[in-house]
Symmetry: C2
Subunit: 673 residues, 2 copies
């Protein structure tokens, strides 16, 4: 709809106004008509056009009859060269067509467009008709903003979003461009101003900068030129505590470039949408405030934080070096070399003995048509690794975000071994091309239980593009979903398999061994805790515990089948037994032997906790079983000894590592939400 503006003319003095191309001025002709006026006629400059409503019955009758609702609609088709260079006049006539008065209007036409990349091709096109709204999907529209959550410095760091100035010119690359295109006379008529403005709520979530000096005309002030400007040459236009500010009108045909940064991720109370307005203000005479006569607006959506499933290509593998994990580290190094990724070791001065790299942080990324970078989500867990994400990961083009628990107890379920993401799935026709986030919580029916903190849950749900699934993980002592499930790539079906820990599958292996005459073969062979297959199978208490564990996992299996649209053929049961520890309030489970599902997945290379199962002809029966399940999918199994430095501390390979992966090729804004 064409923006319309009510305007009043006057027979007693000449009125002046500034007209913005593409709008309509509507003049109620009756309002200012001299008493006894019955007819009127119009004269105007050639670049001024008008319509009259209601249309006079005798369309060509001049003068026109004046009715109580006679409205003159004025448009112009070209910008003015000088102020007030176009004219329109209305002459009023009485009953006998005697002239009663003339209302003169002097017009200045300008073109004003606040522009963004609304079609998401990383070019700021001119006046996209959809720039003022957001629509998801491949046929959608709306510009995109990144939270400026990286730090241009690698030491003396601050999040760029926490400083209200531009710290380095490279910071501009993290921002979205916005261009004010104007065309018109060298100067606006006296008293007119351009002003950019945002709402109070928006001001908490965005900042807009512009170069302080910008006098080049008739061409774009391109980024590479801007980068040569000094930092002091950038000023904040709107943002925190600055809701509105005048912006210069440069005259002629000019483009003024702005840089826009997001300050916060979508969350419970922020839907991610940001509106920025630009208004032309008209003077109302001395002593009165100006009134806006034209407003253009643009809408941005802040990029959500996006997680990367195991099926995406690994880039860097993170592990801790501790005083007892030398051979483990070596195994990981070999594995990482095989798949061509980089290994990043967090040394002891930083980890202070906290080896649970999986639990302190989760890697994700943010994405826009012009730029993308990884962002680490720092867990509220805060073990001795707590400084690692901020101190060692945050940096130029590596963002950081965290959530702090408020009036909530942080539990083991807040570690990010309890935060995973599925590969892309389609569920009952609904597609999740970025997969679905998976977390573990207490059974909703439990009168008490541990949960992931509400602030982190709120954050995850608010990202919207990987709709989370809550599983039940509180049945485990440690309570992480990665203790009973993972995903591996596969060449067929849905391009992945869900691996689940399965006591039933475990017992099946042990029974087969017994049945085939290997009842005396020992679990943990050669180790102090060695125990025979027969002994394991005759332990009724262990059986009852594993029945309970299988119930818990089956409940999760049913949820995963439903929420990820999986068939039984998409799931592989890995033979893993658990045992239940007596806790004061609640019996909870840990893996009986190294929990093979807690593996690291690097392309087709799997680093699996070495289970130390009973040997038949010198080979571990559990390894053989797992290889027979996974190798047909083209996966390569490397069994890594994590017994002493991880398993005995209630974690495994996955808990002790983390993987930065390539972003998904799917663009989040193309989701149909």
């Amino acid at each position: 709809m064409v923006p319309r503006r009510s305007f009043t003319i006057d027979t007693e003095k000449t009125t002046r106004t500034t007209y913005v191309l593409g709008t309509e001025l509507t003049v109620n002709l009756n309002r200012c008509a001299p008493p006894q006026s019955k007819f009127f006629s119009i004269k105007c400059s050639p670049n001024v056009h008008y319509k009259i409503t209601p249309q006079a019955k005798d369309g060509n009758a001049v003068p026109y009859p004046l009715t109580p609702n006679s409205v003159l609609i004025v448009t112009m088709d070209a910008v003015s060269k000088t102020a007030n260079d176009s004219k329109l006049s209305v002459r009023y006539y009485g009953e006998k067509t005697e002239a009663l008065g003339d209302a003169l209007l002097h017009l200045t036409a300008v073109e004003i467009s606040l522009d963004v990349d609304a079609d998401r091709d990383s070019v700021v096109e001119k006046n996209n008709p959809n720039k003022g709204s957001w629509k998801w999907g491949p046929n959608g529209h709306g510009a995109i903003l990144l939270v400026n959550c990286d730090s241009e410095s690698t030491y003396k760091k601050t999040l760029d979003s926490e400083v209200d100035e531009i710290s380095k010119v490279s910071d501009l690359q993290d921002m979205s461009k916005m261009i004010l295109r104007t065309n018109g006379p060298a100067e606006l008529p006296e008293g007119y101003k351009l002003t950019m403005h945002i709402s109070q709520t928006t001001s908490e979530n965005v900042r807009v900068f512009r170069p302080r000096t910008n006098v080049q005309k008739d061409n774009v002030l391109c980024s590479h030129k801007l980068l040569k400007l000094f930092l002091k040459d950038y000023i904040m236009v709107v943002g925190t505590d600055m809701l509105t500010q005048e912006v210069p009108y440069l005259g002629g045909k000019t483009e003024l470039e702005f840089f826009v940064e997001g300050l916060h991720f979508p969350d419970k109370d922020f839907d991610g949408l940001i509106t920025i307005n630009l208004s032309l203000l008209e003077p109302c005479g001395k002593d009165f405030p100006e009134t806006p006569v034209f407003t253009d607006k643009v809408v941005f959506h802040v990029s959500p934080w996006i997680m990367t499933p195991n099926t995406l290509k690994p880039v860097e593998v993170y592990v801790c070096s501790t005083n007892d994990n030398y051979s483990f580290l070596k195994s990981i190094k070999n594995l990482v070399e095989k798949c061509g990724s980089k290994l990043k070791i967090c040394h002891e001065y930083m980890n202070r003995g906290d080896r649970w790299m999986q639990d302190e942080l989760e890697f994700g990324y943010i994405d826009s048509p012009h730029h993308q970078f990884p962002v680490v989500l720092d867990s509220p867990r805060d073990g001795d690794l707590q400084d690692f994400p901020y101190e060692s990961i945050l940096g130029p083009d590596f963002g950081y975000v965290t959530r702090h628990a408020l009036n909530e107890e942080v539990s083991s379920l807040d570690s990010f071994g309890n935060l995973e993401v599925s590969p892309p799935v389609t569920v009952n026709g609904k597609s999740y091309p970025l997969g679905r986030i998976i977390i573990g919580v207490a059974f909703p029916t439990a009168t008490r239980g541990r949960n992931m903190t509400q602030v982190v849950q709120d954050f995850l749900w608010a990202q919207k593009v990987q709709e989370p699934i809550a599983l039940y993980s509180d049945w485990l002592v440690v309570g992480h979903v990665d203790e009973f499930m993972t995903f591996v790539p596969a060449p067929d079906r849905k391009k992945f398999r869900l691996l689940l820990a399965s006591p039933d599958a475990g017992y099946k292996v042990f029974k087969s061994l017994q049945n085939n005459g290997h009842g005396k073969a020992e679990m943990f062979p050669g180790l102090p805790e060695a125990i025979s297959v027969n002994e394991i199978l005759s332990d009724k208490k262990l059986q009852a515990e594993n029945r309970y564990v299988q119930n818990c996992i089956d409940w999760n299996r049913d949820v995963l089948k439903k929420e990820l649209g999986l068939d039984d053929e998409d799931i592989i049961d890995l033979p893993i037994l658990f045992k239940v520890l007596e806790e004061k309030t609640h019996p909870r489970a840990v893996a009986y032997y190294p929990d093979m599902v807690n593996m690291i997945v690097l392309g087709d290379q799997l680093g699996i906790p070495k289970p130390f199962g009973p040997k038949v002809k010198g080979r571990c029966a559990l390894e053989i079983e797992v290889c027979s399940l996974l190798e047909p999918l083209g996966l390569k199994c490397t069994f890594i000894d994590d017994l002493a430095p991880y398993h005995k501390l209630l974690g495994e390979v996955h808990c002790g590592s983390n993987v930065l992966r390539e972003p998904s090729p799917f663009k989040w804004w193309n989701l149909e939400l």
Copy 2:
């Protein structure tokens, strides 16, 4: 999709489980098969049915071949008479069809359905397939909940939603019914439980009650019977600090009635949706917690708070009695009698001289298929009338809601003369059958200005069904939208007209008077402030001020035309002049003579501030003009003298009154959102 549950059977001992009608038990046959099993066969009771996947190639071959993915899908078609009265057994065979073992399963079938009025006909139907989700619109579904914001008592009042027990049995009428329908044996098998549960977030917004004793079977325990129960016979099942609780299984075919109350209105951080779950818990053996084996859920949407436009029938008119408004009160009383409404007078001991009844409160209502009642929104304004809404209006079936400003200054824009609602409109094809809320704020371009507090704005936007429009009212000293606009009913077009104050229309009247030789006629005739038409027209300062005021009103006119889809023909300009008061920071306007647009609208009766305009042949020219504009619409104009007790204190008839109206016949849940 049929709920599926993974289940494991055992060849070493009989397993038992409880099956819920309408679900499927899926048994992985390979998991518990004895080693070397190659085939299996199934036997079962006549009410047990099964399917096998993958289907054996030779469909009728018995025994069936066992594959790694062989799954047995079990269903039942009738409830059990006694626990474990149905059986299924699986026999496993080796290569040469020798029997290797039998897995026995004993089944108890029950029917469980948590029911609500999901089709919105005020009857709680059985197991509506859509009960677990919410959809807006006439073809939508989902149950509805009222915020229990009235008070069953008229003295010693508390909001019912603030006490976690039922204060009077009449309180049950404000709640939505929910019924747990069960059918099965007299008792559940040992160790099984039913439990109702809600999330932490939901627990802040809902409470569920049930009668403590309820042993009637095979028929509904109807409300009228419940009402005879004593209050102590109701207990809270879930709600604040109570996320889950066991509910009784009554045995046989039974219905257990629950009563559900909402605690909060939709707001910035609450979308109004509430989910309540009911699970069947299965015992997992001594020492282990139960696991849910079946969960049913229902969804409610809390009724938004809905405002009533001037076009709805008035029920009660509220005004204050003060020591100086006797004749004003008498005029209002006459007017109210004409339109058949009731008059409610707030006496001086309560109003303490604060006469601005419009500003302290706004009437609205909440609505559900089973019940509706009015709800007063108490302004954060808090003048001397501040106790009136709670003390005098809140009561049985008259609800109360308020918002308190947090770290925000409360300004004159928080008075509810600055909160209005349009009649139903359709804008570019989008229909607003409940109209749109209208508030006044500062210009978005103003560097400083007064605004309505964010908490109230957030509340209004969150109701969703009357999407608000923000106008510019900060140009007025008092700053209320009712100083320059109102709506009146009309027989034609959109069934209403928007009335706008118009200095241009005012000057037109005065110029006509001058032109017709009445230049010496006096405004405020006979009063000390009397001033002639000629003097008014020659006041250049007044003209400039009114030019500014007209600009401000025109900006609002353009917004209203756009946001309400109005044509110029839907708008009537009332002849009103303003004057601008010198304020330190900002020039702001007040009406020059009684502001006729600030009228009370009671059906076709309009109570209009008497303007004291210049008289021609003994009749006020301004009254004549206004009557000539409004009477053709079938409206009856009564001019009420509010000069001393209201106008001189910067308010008029509308500011000094409030109208409780009938709710809209349109049901909010039928909106297409």
